[in-house]
Symmetry: D2
Subunit: 335 residues, 4 copies
C-alpha cells in the first residue's frame, strides 16, 4: 500500500480527504497532521471517521510517498519545499501553486510568493483538461472549488473558439466552501434564510478561472465573477453568461458540450445540471442553453469532493498510476 500523509487534517478538506482515502483500495493513510489537535485521536475530532481512521494527529507527516497539503494559503508554500526535497510528491489544495505568473498571485493573495522554484514545476490539477500533465507531475496545484465548476462549464465554448472573452459568472456555493472557522457571514442566523453575494470583483478564483481558460484558447478571457452564498451545506452551481462570436443553433452548442466530456468518468453533460445528482460524489454535471448569440452554461459539483478533496484524490490516482476513479467510483446522492 502506498503511504499517504494529510497535512492540515483538522479542517473540512482534510477530513474529507480522510473520508475518501480510508476506503481507497491502493493507499493507506499513514499520518494526519494538525497543529491545534496534535496528540488527539482523529476520530475524536472527526467522529464520522470512527472505525475507519485509527490515528492520532501528529505534528509532522513522517515517512510517506505522497502528501496532501490542506493548509491555508500562505502556509502551504512553507510546507511544500521540504516535502518535495524529501522526495515526497505533493498535492496542494490551497491557492499557493495555482499561478505560474507570480505577480498575479502576489496581487490577488496580497503577499510574496516564497517558493518560485517549485511553483514553476507545478501542474494545475483539473484532470479533464490537463490529464497528461498531471500524470507526470510531482507537484499538483488542486483547483479551487468555484474555479472547478466554472472552468468545466466554460471550457467547451472556449476550446471551440466561439466564446467572446468577456464572461460573467454567477456562482452559488454552499457554506462548507467557507471552511470550518465560524464567521459572521456563515453564522446560521445571518445566512440561513437568505443568499449573500460577496467579494464582488475581488474573489481570488477570478484570475484562476481566467488563467485556466487562457491555457486552452488563444483568447484573453475577462471574467467578472460574483460568488453568492446560499443556505445549503455542500454544492456549487456556477451559472456562466457567455456571448458567442458566431451563429449556432442551441443543439449545436449542446453537442459541443456532449463531445467535450464524452468518455469522462466524472464530468457529464446534463440538460438540467443538478447539485443533488452530484452531491457526496466526485461527479460534475455541465449543461448549456443558448438563445441567439447568448449562451448560459451551468456547472454543478460538490465543493468538498470534485471541488476539493475528491479531485485531489483523482489527481493522486493519475500521479501514482492507479485507476483514475479508484476510491471515487460511486454515484451522487440524488436525494
Amino acid at each position: 500500500m502506498t503511504r499517504i500523509g494529510i497535512i492540515g487534517g483538522t479542517g473540512y478538506t482534510g477530513g474529507e480527504l480522510a473520508r475518501i482515502l480510508c476506503t481507497h483500495p491502493g493507499v493507506e493513510i499513514a499520518s494526519m497532521t494538525s497543529r491545534q489537535n496534535t496528540g488527539r485521536k482523529v476520530s475524536d475530532v472527526h467522529p464520522y471517521l470512527k472505525g475507519y481512521v485509527d490515528l492520532e494527529f501528529t505534528e509532522s507527516v513522517g515517512d510517506v510517498d505522497l502528501a496532501f497539503v490542506a493548509t491555508p494559503h500562505g502556509v502551504a508554500m512553507k510546507e511544500v519545499p521540504g516535502l518535495m526535497d524529501s522526495g515526497i510528491k505533493c498535492i496542494d489544495l490551497s491557492g499557493d501553486y495555482r499561478f505560474r505568473d507570480i505577480p498575479t498571485y502576489e496581487l490577488w493573495y496580497g503577499h510574496r510568493h516564497s517558493d518560485p522554484e517549485h511553483l514553476s514545476k507545478a501542474v494545475y490539477g483539473l484532470p479533464e483538461l490537463f490529464r497528461d500533465r498531471i500524470k507526470g507531475a510531482d507537484l499538483v496545484a488542486n483547483p479551487g472549488c468555484y474555479a472547478t465548476a466554472s472552468i468545466l462549464a466554460c471550457a467547451p465554448l472556449m476550446k471551440a473558439g466561439i466564446a467572446e472573452p468577456d464572461i460573467d459568472i454567477d456562482a452559488k456555493s454552499g457554506t462548507s466552501g467557507a471552511g470550518m472557522v465560524p464567521s459572521e457571514r456563515t453564522h446560521h442566523a445571518h445566512c440561513g434564510e437568505t443568499v449573500i453575494p460577496y467579494s464582488v470583483g475581488t474573489h481570488r478564483h477570478t484570475p484562476e478561472i481566467e488563467m485556466a481558460l487562457r491555457m486552452f484558447s488563444g483568447e484573453e478571457p475577462e471574467v467578472l465573477f460574483i460568488p453568492t452564498l446560499v443556505p445549503i451545506v455542500r454544492g456549487i452551481l456556477s451559472t456562466c453568461y457567455i456571448r458567442l462570436n458566431r451563429d449556432l443553433r442551441e443543439d449545436e452548442v449542446q453537442d459541443i458540450y456532449r463531445k467535450q466530456y464524452e468518455g469522462e468518468r466524472f464530468v457529464h453533460y446534463a440538460d438540467e445540471p443538478s447539485i443533488r445528482d452530484v452531491v457526496a460524489s466526485n461527479h460534475a454535471q455541465v449543461g448549456v442553453r443558448s438563445i441567439g448569440r447568448r449562451a448560459v452554461a451551468f456547472g454543478t459539483i460538490d465543493n468538498l469532493v470534485k471541488g476539493a478533496s475528491g479531485q485531489a484524490v483523482q489527481c493522486m490516482n493519475l500521479m501514482l498510476g492507479f485507476d483514475e476513479a479508484a476510491g471515487l467510483d460511486m454515484p451522487g446522492l440524488g436525494v
Copy 2:
C-alpha cells in the same frame, strides 16, 4: 372606512393581502372570495389571521370600493370586466393586464386575451417609476415579483441612458414565489438542499422586464432572464449583469442609483443589498458595483410583499389618496 375585497383569498398573495390590510388605518376588508373554500372561516384556512380577519370566504366579492384580484393568470381577465363595469377599482396581481401589447401577452402566456378593452387602460403598478399614472388609475396591473426586483435594479442605468441593451439577469427566489400548490420542484426533499435554475429563457417575467425598461429608455432592451429557486421561503435577490456604453467610475455609477431612489420610502440604495433587511416588509434595497464598463446591479425584496401584496397595497394607497406608506410603514426583520 373604504371597503376592500380580495378575490382569490386562499393563496399566498391573497392571505398576504389580508395580513397587511387588516391593520391598515383607512380600509376594512369587506370580503374575501374563494371557490374552494366558500363558507369556511378565513382564519381556519389562514390561522395567522385569527383575531384579525373575522370573515367567511364567499363566492362573490359583493359591494366594495376596490378589489384585489389574486387569481391565476387567465382567470383574472374573466373577473376584472364585471368589477370595472360595476365601478369597482381593481388591482390585478396576475399577469393579465401587464402588457399593453396583446401579441406579447398571447405569445408568452399561451392563450388569447379576452379583455382588450380594459387592458388598454391598465397602468403598470410600480410606484417608484410610474407613480403619477397609478394615482389616476382605475385598473392597476401589479408587477411580478422577479420583475419588481429586476426592474428596480436595472432602472437607474437604463434611465440614465448608459446601459447597453443586452442584459443578463440571474434572479434567485425563495419558494413562496411558486405559490401554494405543491409540485415536484417545490417538494422539500427535492429543493431543500440545492439551487435549481428553471424556465431558462422562457420565464414570463422576461418580456415584462423588457417592457418596463423600454418605457423609460429609448432603447429596446434584450433581457436574458434565468430564475433560480433557492431554499428559503421569502425573498428575491436579482443580480443583473449590465454593460455600460461609456466610461464611468464606480462611485459615479453608485451616485446614479442613490439619486434615482432618493426620497423614496420603500426603495433604498445599499452597498450590500440584503434579503434579510427587507423580508416581511415592503422595502427594497438596490445596489450596484462596476469594474470598467461592466456593472452588476443587485435588487432585493420580499417576493410576497414588495413583490406582490405589499406593492399592491402601495398602489391602492396611491389610487385612493391615502399616504403611500399607510399600513406598510415598518422595517424589515433584519434577522
Copy 3:
C-alpha cells in the same frame, strides 16, 4: 412621548426592540447604547432600521423614562442598580432578575448575584400569567425564550392541578436564539442540515420553567429540559410530555387550554400550533393532545418577539399604562 432607552443595542434582541419600538404610537427611542459601536449610526449596524431609527449608539443611556437592558447575564445586574436609583424603570432581558431565590441563580449561572436589593422587587414578566404584578412593577425580568414557550404550554395543566410533577420538555429552537456571536454550533456548515440537542440537563431555562410553574401550583415540578437546535432562524416549538394525575378525555384537556387563554390578545389555543403562524409577531399558539393519562402540550413562539423583545414591549405597555398590544398588534407571517 415617553422616552425609552435600549442598553445593549448591537445584539439581536436590542435590534429587535428598536424594530418594534420605532413604530410604537406612544414612545420614542431616545437612546441606544453599545460599547463596541459607540458613535456609529444605528442604521449602519442594523441597516433594516434605516429610515426608522435616526440615532448614533452612545455609551450611556441618558435621560429616559424606561430602559430595556439587553446585555448578557452578569452585565445586566451591574447596569440596573444605577438606572433604578435614577428613577428609571427597567425591563431586563437577561437572566439576572428572574430568580427570587439567589442560590438557584448562583448555582445555574455560576457567579454571585451582586444586586439582591433590586432582585427582591423584580417581577417575572410573563403577562398572561402575572399581568397584575407587572402593571405595578418598576423592574421586570423578561422571561427566557424557551421558558416562555414551555411555561405557556404547561401552565394550563399545572394551574388545573392535574399534572404530575415530572415533565419532559423537548424544545426546538431556531438559531437566532443563540445570539449574534458566531460559534461552532451555529456555523451553517455545522448546523444547517441537522438538528442538535445540547446542554442536556444543564440549560438555565430549566430552573426558570420550574420556578414559574411552581408559582401557580402547589406542586414542585421537576423538569427535564432538552433544547434542540433546528436549522431555522426564528421560532421555537416546545413539546412538553406531561402525565395527568386523573382520567380526563382529550376534549376535556383541550377545554382547559381554551379557557386558560380565552380573551388573551397574544396567546391562542390551536389544534396544531405552528411556528409560521406566529413568526415575526408577538403571538403564541398552544395546543394539547392526550391519550389516557399522557398529555403532550405544544407551544410555539417567535423567540425574538414573544420570546424576547416583543414580550418586553408588552410588559412596557403594562408598566406605562398603554394598551397592552400597542406597537405589537399584527398577525404572524403565516408563510
Copy 4:
C-alpha cells in the same frame, strides 16, 4: 454475481437501493420495475445513476435470486406471494410484513392483510437485534425509519430490564422520509422554515416500536410517539424519554449502551449522536444521558440508508452469506 431485482424503483427508497447496490461487490441489479416509468431508462428518472445503472424500467422483475419490494403499504403484500412461490427471497421495505399480530396491522394500517401465510415466516430485519433470524430468513420485513432510530436508542435499557414501560419518543425527521410524492406538508414554503409535529399518537411506527421492544423484554412497552418534520432532507434524530426502575449513575447507564453495541459495524455509542456523522451512510449513533431515574436516549440515522435501503442491503448480505458490511462500508459525510 447474484441477481437482484428492485420492485418499485421510481421512489426514493428504490433509487437509493440502486445507488447502494450498483457498487456492491457481490450482486448485480438485474431489473428494476416501475408501473409509471416502464420502458424509460433508469438513469433518465434518476440521473445520479448515469454510468452506474444501465437498465430500463420493466413491468416485471424477471429471473432474480432476491427481490427488494419498495412499493407502498398494501401493494407489497400483493407482490410478495408470487415472488416467494417462485423461490425468490424477499426483503419488503413497506409495513406489510412487520407485524406478526394481524389485528395490530389491520388496526393501524386500516385494511385487511391478504397474505397471512408468508407473514408468519417473515423476520423483522433489524440486524443488530435479530441477526441470527435474518440469516436464515427467506422473507425479511425491513424496519421503518423512525422505528429503526427509536428501537436502537431504547433497546439497551429495555434489554437490561431497567426501563419503565411508558416511553415518550420525540422523533425529528428530514423530509425525504415522506417519500417523493409532493404534498402540502412537504411543500417547501410550508415546511422550509419551521418544524411540524404530525400524526400525534397515530403514527404507524408506534406499534412497530412497541412490538420490537416487546421482543427483547418481558415488558409491555407503552410508547407515545410524536414525529416532527424538520427542514433537512436526510436524517432522523430520535429523542427517547425513559424512566428507570432503579437507581443507576449516568456512567453506568452509558456503559450499558456501550456494551450493547460493542463490536457492531454500523451502530455506535456516541456522547453526542449526530445526524451529520451518519448521513449518506449505513451508520447509526446512539447515546444516553440520565439524571436520577430519568434517562434520555438519542438515536441518529440517515432515514434512507440505515432507516431504509442501507439496512435492507445489510439484511440481504446476511441472507446471502456476504460480509454484513459489503457495499455499505463507508463513513458518513461528517460535513
